[in-house]
Amino acid sequence: MLALALTTPLGAAAQSLQLEADTDVATAGYYQLRWSSTSPVVLEEAQTAEFASPRVIYRGSDGARVMSGKPDGELYYRVRNSDGDARSNVVKVTVRHHSLERAFAFFALGATVFIATLLLIVSGARAGTSR
């Protein structure tokens, strides 16, 4: 019901074109952009809040888009109606991946737990069959 409420048209008024992202800071390079619109829209992406040189990344009548595989940086988004000049609010998403040190620390922790579990089972199974 929550999802339905978010995508329900908020009246015909053009200024009700709303854009939102599911996160402000994406630490894994992926996020979802959602907007409310009854008619086809154009989704634009830019490096600056002024939208100096925007890039069109989607044109159509879906109500959302999943972005992924983004490198570190700050990105600005807005949607506009493709048949009018109604514009949505601007949404800023910061992509900041975890540091590699942190990633490898978790990797090492995981590897330790896994190897310990493996040793426990292999040695246990050997002892079990020889008895």
Binding site: Q32, V66, F107, T117
Partner: protein, 483 residues
């Protein structure tokens, strides 16, 4: 999420396919279950399951909606390591192989994983374990019921509640009629359908677009997906592995299979199932990487698999995906219904409420609980609250904290109650904390690490000297229930 605006098939085609497969599963359930009157026959298929059916049921059950939908989702979000990390879920099956053999040997008349925890660690640890296990089972059931409704809706336009009701109703129906035999028999057919479907879709994706185009488009539009040093996906690797190990080690779905396999089959069946399962998430995940090459808009990450398949194959692809998804969902829902029902019957009904229940009464209770679980799942699926992966990933912290209490408890006499309880409680808490503090991709890992430390410290401080013979227990089946 109603952000996808057009279904690929028309509802009529959807209903025809659903009806045909439903009729098939129900008929097979009735056929295979018509002689399963005794308790062991009904809930454990007579404890004589062979290698072929054993392998197929383990593999097919592990292919859930997660493999066919979340693997593409993870590939789209986490890229190449997400996809390979997903296939490390097979490690759970490999590691369970020696456990299955040992479980069968130590507890030839056991019924559930709860039996083991109770006999090994006593009542308090057992109750903690039951809470974790039932929470997980229900989480899994609900995530699959919801997946069924959402997918059927996206593919055919059949309303969410109808699709969800059909898939739950059918699984309850044939599991009820045929018991564990129906589960295992249909799993075999479902395994063949899933494998063929994945292969056809991936093969056609390569033929349509080609590796070079797929690779080039991702490299320009979503470059981090191909990055072998993407931090989150490096963290995800062992997390996913340990999550899978935790799911398999504790869940009665896998224990009841270990009890039901013929002597000597368990080890081979689980190893082989792991080998057969490992490449599936790679193949299924790969099709999500075709998104940039197809210039496809993906509104919701969990829809990417079906959307790509339909884009490449059109109507035929959508039909194929529908059959595949229906198979993947049923092969897991039926297993969960059967295994959770015997867990509830043995560990709650008999051990808490009716200690003198005969095996005939347990047989009846088991059937009623299958229906009850179906209704409960339906009620929880009806409001359609959260996204799929979130719901199941939430349980990662809990299940991973059972790995060490179970593995050490099966192999080490010195493993003790204190370590098991502390491991499950502190591991779950730490895992949950990291879920919110860092991300879903570390919850299981942290849970498993904390739990392992608890078990090891407790073993060192206060080693127990457990007598394995205590695991052998008298059961109603032997003491003159239904022959």
């Amino acid at each position: 999420m109603d952000v996808v605006n057009s279904a690929i098939l028309d509802p009529m085609t959807g209903w025809v396919i659903l009806a045909a497969f439903s009729a098939l599963w129900i008929a097979l359930g009735w056929y295979w279950g018509r002689h399963s009157q005794a308790l062991d026959d009904y809930v454990l298929a007579g404890r004589r399951v062979g290698l072929a059916l054993g392998t197929a049921t383990a593999m097919a059950t592990w292919v859930t909606s997660n493999t066919t939908m979340a693997a593409p989702q993870i590939a789209l979000q986490m890229g190449i390591w997400g996809m390979l990390g997903y296939s490390l879920g097979a490690v759970g099956l490999f590691l369970f192989a020696p456990l299955a053999a040992r479980i069968r040997r130590l507890m030839p008349t056991g019924y559930t994983s709860g039996d083991f925890i109770r006999l090994r660690y006593g009542h308090f640890a057992w109750r903690v374990f039951l809470v974790i296990s039932l929470f997980y089972s229900l989480g899994w059931l609900v995530s699959m019921g919801m997946a069924g409704g959402i997918l059927i809706h996206a593919l055919t336009g059949i309303p969410y509640h109808y699709g969800m009701t059909v898939i739950l109703g059918i699984c309850v129906g044939y599991t009820l009629l045929g018991g564990f035999r129906a589960v295992i028999g249909t799993d075999f057919i479902q395994a063949l359908l899933i494998l063929s479907g994945v292969v056809v879709i991936a093969f056609l994706a390569i033929q349509h677009i080609g590796f070079d185009d797929i690779h080039r488009s991702i490299a320009t539009e979503r470059p981090e997906l191909l990055n072998l040093l993407m931090p989150a996906s490096i963290m995800f690797l062992f997390n996913n592995l340990l999550f899978g190990v935790g799911e398999i080690f504790h869940s009665n779905v896998w224990w009841s299979r270990a009890f039901s396999f013929r002597e000597g089959v368990g080890f081979k069946a689980y190893t082989l199932a792991g080998l057969l399962w490992a490449p599936i998430p790679i193949v299924a995940g790969f099709i999500a990487l075709a998104v940039p090459a197809l210039s496809l808009n993906v509104p919701a990450a969990d829809m990417v698999g079906p959307m790509v398949a339909a884009e490449i194959l059109g109507t035929a692809g959508a039909v194929l995906v529908l059959i595949m998804v229906f198979s993947a969902l049923s092969s897991s829902i039926d297993s969960l219904l059967a295994a959770t029902s015997i867990l509830v019957v043995e560990d709650i009904y008999r051990r808490h409420l009716r200690p003198n229940a005969t095996s005939a009464q347990m047989r009846t209770a088991s059937a009623r609980i299958i229906v009850g679980l179906g209704i409960l799942t339906w009620l929880l699926c009806a409001p359609r609250i959260t996204t799929l992966a979130e719901l199941l990933y939430f349980t990662g912290a809990f299940v991973a904290s059972t790995i060490w209490p179970i593995a050490a408890g099966l192999f080490w006499r010195r493993a003790n109650t204190l370590g098991a309880i502390a491991g499950m409680l502190l591991g779950s808490a730490a895992g949950l904390y990291s879920y919110f503090a860092i991300g879903f991709y570390v919850a299981a890992l942290v849970g498993a690490a904390v739990s392992m430390s608890c078990v090891l410290i407790a073993c060192w401080l206060q080693p127990a000297a457990y007598d394995w013979a205590d695991l052998q227990e008298h059961h109603p089946q032997e003491s003159g229930g239904t022959p």
